[in-house]
């Protein structure tokens, strides 16, 4: 049974309360991957409103392109040269699999570089929203998926209708959901259905939604939109259904007039305009954003106090994504969670990327090492059931759609053990691939904290970054005495050990003494169930 959300009746009213470390950490953990010591300090220097505004600022598109980290490439791409833009004419499954692995690793690199912006997290949101599985459709050139990432990214914080249009005619999507073979004589309803069911309108809360005829008619509107032999988008007017399309009462019995020739391509704009004229479309996206950034449990109170007014803002803004994110993230309701708790179970990517960023793992500077490190994380995320660009269902990862468990689906007895195993490995001997090691620098992390020589402050500061749910005072004392003090009761022993390390950092005994205990401390904290909450 899910508990009632103890939210403020003020709902979307701007939050005006205190702005302390806990609020900053909450905002950061939800909007970027993890809260680093430096980011916490930086955003505490701003007001809440300034902080949200800054996080909503887009970041520039990546300059670097995915590189060949897989060896022989039949099109002649050299080692650690980019395979993007090397032509789409030659295709084979092995090459596309290799490139997919490269692209997955590269995407992990983008997430790690998210900086102080929501941009990458929102791109991932849209990736889940417009879910795809590149591994089951290896006939689609990997470069098209790279292009789709760029499309998602460049529209991630702008107009949702613009994004929807871009995806509708995205070459990878056209092939993936059979739009490329959707013709007047042989209409294929796949995309016409998912456009409404998964991307815009949704199935609705009360069942009052579009009809099967609407699916069929949307597919007819979309006939003729395809890709050419070079995998570029093209509109073939000859394949387009030029007759009028009559939609159901859900769409106000709207008629989309059929056109022949080039104007037929414009019908899709009318279709999207019709879809976005419904309240349901705005509510559907708002519910999904709410589930991603706030909590999955949307009861009647949340529907009335949050979703409905948020959807109104969304429509009034012309479906501007930044506008509703700003409204939601600055709301009284969003910050109620600081007190009522960390209730989102971290996705595997949130866990892994957040871990790397919070501990500030040093990644190799050279391309080989970088790709090894990114690949390790990508593979581990896949083991934990979240593999970028291999989303098993077109509806997105189950954790974002499958009632009633939602985020809890990330965690079962297998994945929970795997999570503990991996965090133990990273804080222990490290994860390795081809000479690249991914390992937490426990002493380095502690050095970032305000007073690592004071065991109480060290634990308090560590908890601020690593663990949102509060631990009891007795637990903290136990952790201090058992782990940092090895059973002793005098804080000074830790202080001496730390100061001894600072005075003689190259002395192995001095270093090992603090390193061993800090690793044990962080292992312990990451093995707690609380670590998986954000």
């Amino acid at each position: 049974m899910k508990q009632e959300f103890p939210g403020s009746p003020l709902g979307l009213d701007p939050y005006t309360g205190t702005w302390d470390t806990a609020h900053v950490v909450h905002l950061l953990k939800r909007t970027v991957f993890g809260a680093t010591v430096q980011d916490i300090s930086y955003f505490q220097g701003l007001t809440m409103s300034q902080a949200v505004d800054q996080l909503l600022q887009p970041t520039p598109a990546p300059v670097g392109k995915p590189l060949n980290n897989y060896g022989a490439d039949p099109t002649g791409v050299g080692s650690y040269q980019t395979w993007v833009g090397t032509g789409l004419l030659y295709q084979d499954d092995t090459m596309n699999t290799n490139r997919l692995r490269s692209l997955q690793a590269w995407w992990v690199g983008q997430l790690l570089g998210c900086g102080r912006s929501i941009h990458e997290k929102m791109t991932l949101f849209w990736h889940n929203h417009f879910a795809m599985d590149a591994l089951t459709t290896l006939s689609i050139p990997c470069e098209l998926w790279y292009n789709q990432y760029l499309t998602l990214r460049s529209n991630a914080l702008g107009s949702f209708p613009t994004l929807a249009k871009a995806i509708t005619i995205d070459p990878a999507m056209l092939i993936f959901l059979n739009g490329n073979t959707n013709t007047m004589t042989a209409p294929n309803e796949n995309y016409g259905r998912e456009l409404q069911e998964l991307y815009t309108v949704g199935l609705g809360l009360t069942g009052t939604t579009y009809s099967q005829d609407d699916v069929h008619n949307a597919a007819r509107v979309l006939t003729g939109h395809t890709v050419d032999v070079n995998f570029n988008y093209s509109f073939l007017a000859g394949n387009h259904d030029t007759t009028n399309k009559n939609f159901s009462a859900f769409y106000g019995n709207n008629i989309i007039t059929g056109y022949s020739g080039a104007p037929g391509a414009g019908e899709v704009d009318n279709l999207l305009a019709m879809i976005f004229s419904t309240d349901e479309s705005a509510k559907f996206i708002c519910r999904k954003l709410y589930g991603w950034f706030v909590y999955y449990d949307i009861d009647d109170t949340i529907e009335t106090n949050i979703i409905t007014p948020l959807a109104t803002v969304f429509r009034q803004s012309g479906y501007n994504i930044t506008t509703i994110l700003s409204t939601l993230l600055k709301s009284q309701h969003f910050f109620d969670l600081v007190n009522s708790g960390a209730c989102i179970i971290k996705s595997p990517l949130d866990l892994l990327i957040g871990l790397c960023r919070e501990y500030q793992l040093t990644l190799p500077a050279d391309a080989t090492g970088q790709y090894n490190a990114w690949s390790l994380l990508s593979q581990r995320s896949a083991t934990l059931q979240q593999e970028i660009m291999v989303i098993p269902l077109v509806a997105g990862w189950d954790a974002y759609r499958e009632a009633p468990q939602y985020h809890e689906l990330w965690i079962n007895s297998v994945t929970y053990s795997e999570r503990n195993f991996y965090t133990d490995l990273l804080v222990g001997t490290g994860d390795m691939m081809n000479g690249t090691t991914l390992r937490i620098d426990a002493v380095g992390f502690a050095s970032l904290l305000s007073a690592p020589q004071d065991p109480n402050q060290l634990i308090a500061d560590s908890l601020t970054v690593l663990l949102r749910p509060p631990l009891s005072a007795s637990s903290i004392t136990l952790i201090k005495q058992t782990i940092l003090l090895g059973g002793l009761t005098t804080d000074q022993y830790w202080t001496n050990a730390w100061l001894n390390y600072i005075a003689t950092p190259t002395d192995m005994t001095a270093f090992t003494t603090v390193d061993t205990r800090l690793r044990a401390l962080y292992k312990y904290l990451m093995d707690l169930p609380e670590y998986h909450l954000s």
């Binding site: 179970i345 929970y416 136990l478 059973g487 005098t490 005994t509 909450l533």
Partner: protein, 521 residues
């Protein structure tokens, strides 16, 4: 010079119940005595955290006046020292009546002056050394018990639990697992809380989380975490099998922990090693009460330790599993010979180790430390390397072959006879034939050079020279001898500062320490 006691080795026991062992060796009883996986022996490690003052624990009676003058403000009066049957050279702190009874009951072995070369006086470093089994300047990611278990139960944790080993390899009482259990593949232990927490664990009771979204999700995560504990049901079943235990002292944290151990052992867990810990023994000040030095912080700690172990042994007997269990107490170090002005003692080096259980070979192994010529920095010179204790436990209690023991402990260590040889049917070389004085030097005192004379049974022989702080300053002999016999080595001592040194001989299970005095010109 005072006549020193020599090492008391134990004559090999070749008869059991009147029968020669060879006559029994074909019986099934002996066929199972091969390696740790095939016997039901359990080791309980009792960590006395903080550095126990060994000199006020095992009190030297044969050189009591040296003891008294080194620490008159905290010295236990000679008349209050508990006597040990068959040993007039040492006695126990008056609070340890329990351990005294174990000794008199043939259930307690005491090892003198266990330590390692070059200790640095840091609690943390010393704990790391003791738990990992490393040298002072060696840094290991694994613990000695972890290496033993990891190499005995190959591939662990893959394929575990299984029919042969359905239970945790090791159990840490408490919530944080000791590094002693770390193997290359991760920890070999599971943490089991003690006392009330223990009952909550097996009954599945946890604190209710707050009625918030966070509470909901935390409850969910905790329930999955419990499911992932592959051993929860085995532990619950074992605990539930034991409905009655013999009494334990109240308000005694160590007793609570040992009570849990007894319950799990008697409940049928095949777990090989348990770890409990107790402290803090870090008695820099107020170690004794000024009015009555037999009372105070240290007396309370020793009494709780002694009472807890005695109650544990009593309970094991009540539960019918006393033959299966051997225990060992250790601290990260002993304390300084000379007490400080705060009625306490500062960080030291070597310490006595207690081995308890029906298979403990009763006696005090080693010499009383020479306490003459001490200064405030002086430490008790090491007689036994702590890894010799581990080595002998692995060999004589877990029946691990000597080659495997060397692999697990990363080196060969001296073999010490403190476990009855019925446990693994091992035989010892009787070293008594070497005579009383195994090592001496001439001249003494000396200035630029002295000649050390030592006896060896052949094989690897070590002569180490330590200063009074326990630092290894010279290694005059570290080699194999093909022939048993008496040898000499000339030691250049010009570079040594004037003062007291200890020369330590080690050959097989024999060792002896002599005091050397370097003079200025």
């Amino acid at each position: 010079m005072r006549r020193r006691d020599f090492i008391r080795t134990i004559a090999p026991i070749t008869f059991m119940g009147g029968f020669k062992i060879s006559a029994l060796s074909r019986l099934p009883f002996f066929d199972v005595l091969h390696g740790a996986t095939e016997n039901d022996h359990v080791l309980v490690l009792v960590q006395l955290v903080g550095g126990n003052d060994g000199l006020n624990t095992l009190i030297p009676l044969s050189n009591y006046s040296d003891y008294y003058s080194a620490r008159s403000n905290i010295a236990i009066p000679e008349s209050k020292v508990l006597k040990l049957s068959q040993d007039t050279l040492n006695g126990l702190h008056p609070a340890m009546t329990g351990l005294q009874s174990l000794y008199d009951n043939d259930q307690l072995a005491i090892l003198q002056a266990v330590g390692y070369p070059d200790p640095d006086g840091s609690h943390f470093r010393a704990m790391d050394v003791w738990l990992s089994g490393s040298d002072e300047d060696q840094y290991l990611d694994t613990g000695w018990t972890g290496r033993f278990l990891g190499q005995t139960y190959t591939n662990f944790p893959v394929g575990y639990p299984n029919a042969d080993m359905p239970d945790p390899l090791a159990i840490q009482i408490g919530s944080v697992i000791s590094p002693v259990f770390m193997a290359n593949s991760g920890t070999t232990a599971m943490a089991v809380p003690t006392d009330a927490d223990f009952y909550n664990l097996i009954n599945g009771i946890t604190e209710p989380e707050p009625d918030t979204p966070m509470g909901t999700e935390l409850t969910y995560l905790q329930s999955v975490a419990r499911q992932t504990n592959k051993y929860a049901s085995a532990i619950e079943a074992a605990a539930n099998k034991v409905t009655q235990q013999a009494p334990y002292p109240a308000n005694n944290d160590l007793a609570s922990q040992l009570k849990t151990v007894a319950r799990l052992v008697a409940g049928g867990l095949k777990t090989k090693v348990y770890m409990v810990s107790f402290g803090s023994f870090d008695t820099h000040g107020g170690q004794v009460n000024p009015g009555d030095v037999t009372t105070g912080t240290h007396a309370n700690l020793l009494q709780q330790t002694s009472d807890a172990i005695t109650a544990f042994m009593n309970d094991l007997k009540f539960l019918g599993v006393d033959d299966r269990v051997l225990g060992m107490t250790f601290s990260e170090f002993g304390r300084r010979i000379i007490s400080n002005g705060s009625m306490g003692t500062d960080h030291g080096a070597a310490q006595p180790v207690f081995i308890f259980g029906n298979s403990a070979q009763t006696g005090v192994l080693g010499q009383n430390p020479d306490l003459t010529g001490s200064n405030v920095e002086s430490n008790i010179p090491m007689q036994y390397d702590f890894r010799s204790v581990y080595s002998s436990i692995l060999r004589d209690w877990f029946c691990v072959s000597p080659d495997d023991v060397s692999t697990m402990l990363l080196k060969d260590y001296q073999y010490l006879p403190f476990i009855k040889n019925t446990a693994c049917n091992n035989n010892y070389t009787n070293l008594n034939n070497l005579g009383n004085s195994l090592i001496s030097n001439y001249p003494n005192p000396f200035t630029d050079t002295t000649t050390i004379t030592f006896k060896t049974n052949g094989g690897h022989t070590l002569v180490q020279l330590f200063d009074t702080a326990g630092r290894l300053v010279m290694l005059p002999v570290d080699q194999d001898y093909a022939q048993a016999g008496t040898y000499t080595v000339s030691v250049g001592t010009a570079s040594l500062a004037a003062g007291v040194y200890y020369a330590r001989l080690q050959n097989q299970s024999a060792q002896q320490v002599v005091t050397l005095l370097k003079m200025n010109h």
